[in-house]
């Protein structure tokens, strides 16, 4: 195993299920035999604020947060939050983003405008960019709530971890009755990347 640490950032809006996705990702890394650390801020996460979760894995991980400007992969659940977090990435990083816009309070109240063409702007800076319509694909797979698993599938192709560890982590973390839908969502996500 090399000394390389892989730095992943999961970003979005409180209530989107980011913490569970980060749990599945960390579990996968542990099952694959890596050291792993995961860090985020709780407390405000249910109140619709921005959420950033850090997952780092490798032979030995020290800092629980991704050093500034060293993110390898951005895993975005919402477009503006994905764009906002580009500052955390290293040049040439991979961006996997959900094609979903959730307006913040100032936009809801008509005081500010949700920025236009964020997907285009992300693609300009980070050519390794995968835009995923997580909601649509998850609906087709049988449940809109599996959108995060679609994204996880897309991210999984960019990491050096065998598929069986992902499937085992999903089986461990996802409730039994939702498992089939999530495995299907994961497979579709994986085929996109």
């Amino acid at each position: 195993m090399s000394d390389k640490i892989t730095n992943i950032l999961l970003v979005g809006v409180g209530g989107q299920g980011i913490l569970l996705a980060a749990e599945i990702l960390s579990e996968t890394c542990m099952l694959a035999g890596f050291d792993v650390k995961k860090s985020e801020i709780h407390g405000m996460s249910q109140r619709g604020g921005s959420v950033v979760s850090h997952v780092r894995y490798g032979r030995e991980v020290f800092s629980p947060i991704v050093p500034e400007g060293e993110g390898d992969i951005l895993f975005g659940f919402e477009l503006m939050e994905s764009y906002r977090s580009l500052t955390l990435l290293k040049p040439g990083a991979t961006v996997v983003a959900n094609d979903l816009c959730i307006p913040p309070p100032s936009v809801l109240m008509g005081q500010e405008v949700y920025p236009a063409d964020l997907a285009g702007k992300i693609a300009e800076r980070f050519p390794d960019f995968i835009l995923v319509d997580g909601q649509q694909i998850a609906t087709e797979a049988g449940n809109v709530r599996a959108a995060n698993t679609v994204l996880l599938g897309a991210v999984s192709k960019r990491l050096d971890i065998a598929e069986n560890f992902w499937l085992e982590a999903i089986e461990r973390m996802v409730p039994k009755k939702a498992l089939a839908v999530n495995l299907q969502a994961f497979a579709v996500g994986r085929s996109l990347a």
């Binding site: 792993v36 407390g43 936009v107």
Partner: protein, 584 residues
């Protein structure tokens, strides 16, 4: 067996493995999940206390019978618990007692970023500081052993990045064979009257000297010798940043940050050319090293404010920083009250009535945010009522009417009730609104003495808030539906006019409560685009379910997201054009 655990989960596991019999806390970010996770171990009697002082007293009582007890709180909670803590230092323990303080550098979810290492020095008790989840587990177990070996409470300090970070942990079995708890009579040790306490003080001073000597050979304080050019003394999460950013540096990693292992520090200092201390917040270690007459660099290059990050450490050491791509200013995404939150109508009304709002700590502190913008002060748990009393003592009768204290049910029972007793006793002419949403919401829906359930989810006695206020002597107590704007405005303005103490209690639950039969979602509302004139009146409550949909120029219409709407009906009451109706 290996598991990925957060620092908080690992502390809970550590207490279990150490054979703890009692765990007690008041919720507070970032400490809350310790007690929530300890409920997985039925061997431990776990409970939410009314406040941190009571939590520690419960722990002390259990310890004196010989049981191991864990008490947890956020950093500012130790301020509340400081009174018993300082004398507990004198009595010492019987069963091990571990007090977890979860500090919050960077104020991710707090009103200040005080450095509670100072409490260990002030109270003259040892403090351990873990650097990851594995150490959270092993240090918790060690803390119980040290507590009994040295007859002292032991503090375990985490920070947000330790409490809420997850890493791989090796689990073990629970210890067995600890003595059964029983009543112990030993007044010379446990009754701190001056005659007894004077003698105990000498023991406290001897204890800290012994601990400092013994700390030099404790494996949790270790020298990691690499190059000799730079040596860094560090602890907690800062250790991880040092290893990340300065992998070649020699490190003295302190697992015990009070008392310091002075001889070990001297030895380490002698083996490196240049000595640094890397620590968050106060120069706690640095000042003590300087007092030893050793040259050391610390806060000259690192801030006294905020948390450390790998980037901030690089900057302090003059290392090249990673290139970061800039992004233009984007609309912010602050936290907000939920759709259907029962607090929203009250703050909308207080804003309309131009009240001076003496605020408190909880979800309703978000009433500060625009467009509600109805909070003028916020200091600490329970402060709203006492501060309102203070203000009305000196204001003109006209200004006095504007003073309204707002406080949640859990915060009221935490320390607000004392403020209300004082207000009644001293005839304070202010209005107090108890925002009773049946839960401790901000920290993630914990039960409290008014919710009718314990931490273990067992049904229990629920404090009757109107009766409690009556017993205190409040003459004017009114209960209102906070989702009825007309009622809110009528009752609150009447009570603000009254030149006496009055209490208004709201009676709608938090929308996030999952327990059956508490919160019921109302009928989802929708905007009839035909009738909507685009007047924006419904936007003034800042509900996340209501969206302004612009058309050309300044025109536009409101839209309600049917997935988010909880049917509280507040926006419908604001629409003069009957454009908001039940969704079809």
């Amino acid at each position: 067996m290996k598991e990925i655990l957060s620092g908080n989960e690992a502390i809970a596991r550590g207490a279990y493995e150490a054979g703890a019999k009692v765990a007690c806390a008041y919720p507070g970010t970032p400490s809350t999940e310790i007690l929530e996770n300890i409920t997985r171990y039925p061997e431990i009697n776990s409970s939410w206390a009314t406040n941190e002082k009571v939590a520690l007293e419960v722990g002390i009582g259990a310890s004196f019978t010989g049981a191991r007890a864990l008490v947890t709180m956020k950093h500012v909670g130790v301020n509340v618990a400081a009174d018993p803590l300082f004398t507990l230092s004198y009595t010492g323990v019987n069963g091990g007692l571990v007090l977890v303080t979860a500090d919050d550098p960077e104020l991710h979810s707090s009103q200040n970023e005080q450095d509670n290492r100072n409490y260990a020095k002030f109270a003259k008790v040892p403090m351990l500081e873990p650097s990851d989840s594995q150490e959270c587990l092993s240090f918790t177990k060690l803390a119980f052993e040290l507590s009994e070996r040295y007859d002292t409470p032991v503090m375990l300090r985490t920070t947000t990045r330790i409490s809420h970070a997850k890493s791989v942990v090796e689990l073990a079995e629970r210890v067995t064979g600890l003595a059964e708890p029983q009543l112990v009579k030993n007044p010379a040790k446990y009754v701190m009257l001056p005659g007894n306490a004077r003698g105990r003080h000498y023991l406290v001073e001897e204890r800290i000297v012994t601990l400092s000597k013994d700390a030099c050979s404790m494996p949790i304080n270790r020298m990691e010798m690499r190059g000799s050019s730079i040596g860094i003394i560090t602890a907690g999460v800062s250790y991880q940043y040092v290893r990340e950013v300065l992998p070649e540096a020699s490190v003295l990693k302190l697992g015990m940050v009070h008392p310091l292992p002075f001889d070990l520090i001297r030895e380490f200092a002698s083996r490196v050319d240049k000595l640094y201390v890397v620590e968050e917040l106060d120069p706690f270690i640095e000042e003590q090293v300087k007092a030893m007459g050793i040259a050391v660099t610390g806060k000259e290059i690192l801030s006294l404010c905020g948390e450390l990050t790998p980037g901030r450490l690089r900057k302090g050491f003059g290392l090249p920083e990673s290139e970061q791509s800039a992004v233009e200013k984007l609309p912010g995404r602050p936290p907000n009250m939920c759709p259907g939150c029962p607090h929203r109508g009250v703050f909308f009304t207080l804003n309309r009535l131009k009240a001076y709002v003496s605020g408190d700590i909880g979800c309703y502190t978000l009433g500060f945010m625009p467009p509600l913008s109805a909070m003028d002060t916020c200091i600490c748990m329970g402060a709203s009522i006492g501060m309102a009393t203070g203000a009305v003592k000196v204001l003109s009768p006209e200004e006095r009417k504007k003073v309204v204290a707002v406080i949640g049910d859990s915060t009221f029972l935490h320390t607000g009730v004392n403020g209300l007793m004082d207000m009644v006793y001293n005839k304070g002419a202010a209005t107090v609104i108890i925002l009773d949403n049946r839960i401790t919401a901000m920290t993630g829906r914990q039960d409290n003495p008014a919710s009718g359930h314990t931490l273990m989810d067992d049904p229990t006695n629920a404090i009757d808030l109107p009766l409690l206020c009556k017993a205190i002597g409040v003459q004017h107590i009114r209960t209102i539906n906070p989702l009825d704007l007309e009622e809110c405005e009528r009752v609150i303005s009447e009570e603000m006019e009254r030149p006496e103490t009055s209490v208004i209690i709201t009676d709608k639950p938090c929308v996030l409560i999952k327990r059956e039969g508490v919160f019921t979602r109302g009928k989802v509302l929708a905007v009839d685009a035909e009738n909507c004139t685009g007047c924006r009146a419904c936007l003034k409550i800042g509900c996340p379910a209501i969206e302004w949909v612009p058309s050309s120029g300044k025109k536009g219409k409101a839209h309600i997201d049917p997935l988010l709407c909880n049917g509280c009906d507040v926006c419908r009451q604001l629409c003069k054009f009957a454009a908001i109706q039940e969704a079809k």
